[in-house]
């Protein structure tokens, strides 16, 4: 079988979705790990984002990581384009709809709403990238800060703190995290089944791990804007 046939078949297209989705999940692990460094301020009020700024600096300063970042954009691009292609093509397979729709009988609403949830995540991503990635990597408009050494760091923490003083931003971020949670609750386990995991023992494992991941990771993210808004994590 030719590669072109393989990847354009209905199963091959889903394989691309699953692999790109799992790649994005691995990115979330790194992303949430680094950002969770802001919580250091809860335990040490003099931290003011020092640990976080240093970790973020590491992510921006080395070429290897900048190259991985390009891979990340490619991953998002593939996942989003393929997601829309599948969504539109699949829906077009029924040209005349039912008078009485099936609704969610027998399935969970979020498993039928991956396109919608993905779109909400995409909208959130645009806002999110313009908040942090653009000033940090493109326009370089972040204030500098140093911690007693000659090395200058971007004060991404201060940027976060100021951004999250606006109530509407906090709400948008929380909604983004909720969309992500539902998207993952279906996507995480579906990806493994797309990859051919048919042993029910492992399907149960994927479901369990997926549920835990979909709750913990979006919750850790959502608490960031919330805790800065309420000054549990602050700048002094």
């Amino acid at each position: 079988m030719k590669w072109s046939e393989f990847f354009t078949s209905s199963v091959g297209k889903k394989l691309v979705m699953a692999l790109s989705g799992l790649f994005l999940i691995s990115f979330l692990v790194v992303h949430v790990g680094i950002n969770a460094c802001i919580y250091a301020d809860i335990f040490d009020d003099s931290d003011n984002g020092e640990i976080f700024n240093k970790a973020a600096h590491f992510m921006g300063a080395y070429y290897v990581i900048r190259i991985i970042e390009v891979g990340l954009f490619v991953g998002f691009f593939i996942h989003i384009i393929q997601g829309y292609v599948l969504e539109v093509k699949n829906r077009a397979k029924r040209n005349i709809g039912y008078k009485v729709p099936m609704g969610s009988k027998g399935s969970r609403w979020y498993s039928k709403s991956m396109g919608l949830l993905g779109t909400l995540i995409l909208l959130f991503l645009v806002i999110h990238i313009s908040h942090f990635w653009v000033p940090s990597r493109v326009t370089h408009t972040l204030e500098p800060v140093n911690y007693g050494t000659p090395t200058e760091y971007h004060n991404l923490y201060a940027r976060m703190y100021h951004t999250f003083q606006q109530g509407w931003v906090v709400i948008v971020y929380v909604l983004g995290c909720i969309s992500l949670a539902w998207h993952l609750l279906h996507g995480f386990q579906a990806a493994f089944r797309t990859l051919g995991v048919s042993n029910t023992k492992y399907i149960a494992l994927a479901r369990g791990a997926g549920a835990a991941f979909s709750i913990i990771v979006p919750l850790l993210f959502a608490l960031m804007p919330i805790s800065m808004y309420f000054n549990w994590v602050d700048l002094n």
Binding site: F6, K93, K99, V100, P101, M102, T194, G196, S198
Partner: protein, 255 residues
């Protein structure tokens, strides 16, 4: 359960032929016995239409005992009606009560075009089977049935998959009009048995290619198919189909 009779309002999809646009017609049926099957209720309605000099409603059926897979009605928003693990022919009128309104539609999918009224063309399934849903057996003496040992668990799983009657309810229920539950049942049934081994890879590749050609969608694991399948075919088979396809697709050479 006690016997009772009921009067019902039916809203049925009527379409003269594949070119006709089609529309819903409303019919009243009276004194329907709770002991009748859903199809018998349709027989009563058709007798009534014939007596009035009208065209009876075309619908598919054959065995009327839940084994052939011909009956195919989408009733009040669910293929095969409200009961679990059930075909329309085995749906009984005791599922309804006096005064109910029932909406009956054909399977809806581009790959299953309406021929007339509630009858759809499901020959796409036949072509998928022709593409690989078989084993090739050389002529000669019949081999002893017990010559090849098969693990009990595998035989059971193969048998459970082989229970698929090819009705198409899975396609009708799926938001993507995907035929993956059907296909996965057919592929699993043979992939689990030693008899299916020689054609294992070409089978799955050819059957998926045919499925795509027929215009069915891809599987996104909403599991609506399993919920409506009269034979309780498990979506686990779809994972197995994916595995079979990925292994075959990655290892088979260019052809």
């Amino acid at each position: 359960m006690e016997h009772y009779t009921m009067n019902l309002t039916l809203k049925v999809w009527r379409q003269k032929n594949s070119q006709d646009k089609g529309r819903f017609e409303t019919y009243e049926v009276k004194n329907i016995s709770s002991e009748m099957s859903f199809l018998e209720m349709f027989d009563v309605l058709n007798e009534q239409l014939i007596a009035e000099g009208k065209d009876p409603i075309a619908f598919d059926h054959d065995c009327r005992e839940g084994i052939c897979g011909m009956c195919s009605m989408y009733i009040n928003g669910r293929p095969h009606g409200p009961w679990q693990h059930n075909t329309v022919c085995q749906l009984h009128m005791r599922a309804y009560k006096d005064g109910d309104t029932i909406v009956v539609e054909p399977w809806r999918a581009k790959a299953f075009p309406v021929i007339k009224d509630l009858v759809v063309d499901r020959s796409a399934f036949d072509r998928i089977i022709q593409a690989g849903g078989y084993i090739s057996v050389n002529t000669g003496n019949a081999v002893d049935a017990n010559a090849i040992p098969i693990e009990k668990e595998k035989a059971d799983a193969a048998f459970a998959a082989a229970a698929c009657i090819g009705c198409g309810a899975c396609v009708a229920a799926c938001k993507n009009s995907s035929a993956m539950l059907f296909l996965s049942a057919k592929v699993s049934h043979l992939a689990l048995l030693p008899q299916g081994e020689p054609e294992r890879k070409t089978r799955v590749l050819n059957m998926v290619a045919q499925m795509d050609k027929e215009g069915f969608g891809s599987c996104t694991f909403t599991e609506a198919c399993e919920a409506v399948c009269p034979k309780g075919i498990s979506v686990t088979n779809i994972s197995r189909l994916n595995k079979e396809y990925l292994v075959a697709g990655l290892t088979e050479d260019k052809r």
